[in-house]
Each structure stands twice: as C-alpha cells, then as structure tokens.
C-alpha cells in the first residue's frame, strides 16, 4: 500500500518537475500513466518494482523527458519480465537485475537459463554480470559464455571474476584481441580453456585440457 502511494506520488513529482520546466503535454500525461501502469503491474505480480523506480529516478536525474523515461522503464520491465520467465520458477532480485543487463547485451534466453542451471544453488548473477562485462569489453558472446561456464564448474570466487575482467581490460588496452586475452587469462586461471567459437554452452568440464601455460 505504502509503495503504491509512493509510486503515485513519484509520478506526480515527475509531473511537478516537468511542469516547472515546461507545460505538461498530452504525451507527458500518457507517459506518466504508462509508468504508473508498469509499476503497478510489477507490484501486482510480485516483481521488483523498485528496479523500475530506480530507472525513473535515473531518468529524472538526467533530465530526460517523460516519454523517454517511460520508454526506458517499459524496456527494463520487458527485460526483467523476460528474465523472470526464463529463470522461473524461482529467481532472486539480483539475478533479475543482472539477467536484464545480460539480455541488453544480446545474451540469449537459453544461454541465461543454462548459466543459471550450471550455477546450481549458487547465485547466478555474478556470472551474468561477468558475461556482460566481457561482452562490453569486446569478447564474443560465445567465448564469454564458455568462460563463465568454465568458471562456474570450478567454483571461482567472485573477486576472481572481477579481477579477471580488470586484467582483460588491461590486456586489451595493451593491444591483445579481447578473445585472445580472455583465452590467455582463462588458461592462467584455470589451467585449461580451449579458445574458439562454440555453437552453444557446453556442460561443465568440457573444454579443458589444452593448457598453453602453466598455472602460476
């Protein structure tokens, strides 16, 4: 109930903000209604509407128009909803958030589901974010997914995932291709990672054995 009130008031605040800047247009009003509908729908379905509220706050802070904020919220809602369906029947909020980001960089639904299954009882969101960071650094999606799968099977710690992404960024800045850098780093880390294009995600344990470097 409180959240509904807050949402309604937040939308009114949006209106107040825009009214102070410019007259409220019909499209602004329509956008506000779209936002409110999306948030209420999330609340009704037990999905984390706070993710949408955060996007509203971001758009407001960045001075975006209300139709643009509504578009961003709608896109995020679509992605979060998709991740919820992909990972059903149970999913955590961080997994929804990270999964939505993964979708935004082009990770497919089967790939997400497969990563989550591979993670087992462990949270999958660190691996989703790992793939997102790799892809953003120029690694091909197949390689990033393959690396994530390998890291899951070896139960690599979260800090190691972070360090790997940072190391890769340095390697790429130094002139290596992203895929080659990832392959090199993975080989150093887990002692076995066969680079090359893959058509999908392989089961845990597959892909090891061809170490080009010994582990430090």
């Amino acid at each position: 109930m409180i959240r509904r009130v807050v949402t309604a008031v937040a939308v009114i605040a949006l209106a107040a903000t825009s009214r102070a800047q410019a007259p409220l247009t019909e499209s602004d009003r329509a956008a506000q209604q779209r936002i409110e509908t999306l948030v209420r729908d999330f609340e009704r379905r037990g999905l984390p509407a706070d993710l949408l509220r955060a996007k509203i706050a971001e758009g407001t802070a960045k001075g975006a128009s209300q139709p643009r904020i509504a578009d961003a919220v709608a896109l995020l809602a679509l992605r979060v909803d998709s991740v919820a369906r992909i990972l059903a029947p149970s999913v955590t909020v961080p997994e929804l958030h990270a999964g939505a980001e993964a979708l935004s960089v082009g990770v497919s639904a089967p790939a997400l589901r497969s990563l989550r299954l591979a993670a087992g009882r462990r949270p999958a969101d660190p691996y989703f974010l790992f793939v997102v960071r790799m892809v953003r650094r120029g690694v091909t999606q197949d390689q990033a997914l393959r690396a994530a799968r390998s890291l899951i099977s070896r139960q690599v710690a979260t800090n190691t995932l972070l360090a790997l992404a940072d190391d890769l960024a340095r390697d790429v800045a130094g002139g290596m291709s992203p895929d080659a850098a990832l392959s090199d780093r993975m080989t150093r880390l887990v002692g076995g990672f066969v680079p090359g294009a893959v058509s999908g995600i392989e089961p845990p344990g597959v892909g090891g054995g061809q170490s080009t470097r010994s582990k430090p």
Binding site: V9, A13, A16, Q33, D50, L51, I69, P94, P126
Partner: protein, 202 residues
Amino acid sequence: MTEPGHDSEAHMIETRLASALAAMRAPPVIDRGAAARIAAQAVLANAPSRSANRWGMRAAAALAVVTLGALAMGTRNPAGTSTRTVPVAAAPVMLQSAPSAASTRLVARSGIAARPIMFELDAPGARTVQVIGDFNDWSRNASSMQRGTDGRWRVTTLLPPGRYVYAFLIDGERFQRDLRRDPIEDRDFGVTGSELVIGEAP
C-alpha cells in the same frame, strides 16, 4: 508433576534447538564469493528502500507544491487522477530474495563491511560537483563533492561490495563520466556513465 506428553514435547523442542544450533555452528556452505554476493544483493535490495524513502519525502514536497499550484490555477493535476491497469499475465516466478531489511541484517551478521570509496574529478572551473548514481538513487544532492586545495573535487562514500553505475554532475547541468573507470553506454537517456565494481575486502 509432569503432564503426559510434556516430555516428548520438551524432547522435540530440544531436538529442534540442537539442530538449529548445529546448523548455526556449522561452517557456511557458501564461499567468500557467495558472501560477497549477499552483500551485493543487499545493495540492490537496499537501494529501492532508500529510493522509496527519498521519493516519498521529495514527492510529498512536490505534491504539496503541485497541489498549491493547482489550487492557485483553479485546476487539478491530471497526474493525480487514477490510471487504468492493463491486465498482464502473471509470470510464474517466485522471488527468492528476502525483504531488504532481512538482507541488511544478514550482511551485518556476515561481517561484510562497506568500504570507503573515493570519487575524484579534475574540474578546476566547476562551481559545484556531485557524484550521482544508483548507489544514491541518482540524487542530485546526496553526494556533493568538495574541492581540495589542489583544485580536484573529491568525496568518499561507504559502499558495500557490488556493481554500481554513476556519473559526475558539474554545476548542476553537465554530466561527465569518470575517466578512470570503464564507461557504460546509456542507451536509455544518452548520458554515458562509469562502472564501479567493488569486490569483497581481502
């Protein structure tokens, strides 16, 4: 005198207590990385709470302004009217995460402390600089930076492990990303920010 069944009930309670204590004393099945994820989850879970609180306060103030304005103009704000809800099929999903308060307590028990993170910007001509991002709900007033004697702007914020997106707001009107960190393209609003990922303390 003991009532019939009391012994068995007491035994059952003792058994449950012993089981619970054993579970509490047992080494955690999660690794250090998983613990960090708990903290990151709390980041996500907490952010909306703060957001809601701040939204509530700001929105209440805005509501008052809007209402006064509407009264002065002899009209009503259309945004205040009710909206229709489009029926959407419910997703077959069950959220695993606990409410934010529970997550926060869990983090406290796990001993994962927030770490001081210093944001720094070289903007000698700026009059004001804020760092705004998802860790402060994109508030323009939450994290004002201070100009040092060297002319650089700085602010230190305590942040738990997690991933954050942020940008600097210069003079309340111009955004700039942190050049020391990875850029994050913003396809939604066109303001490129920076990504900050904080791991657990060593």
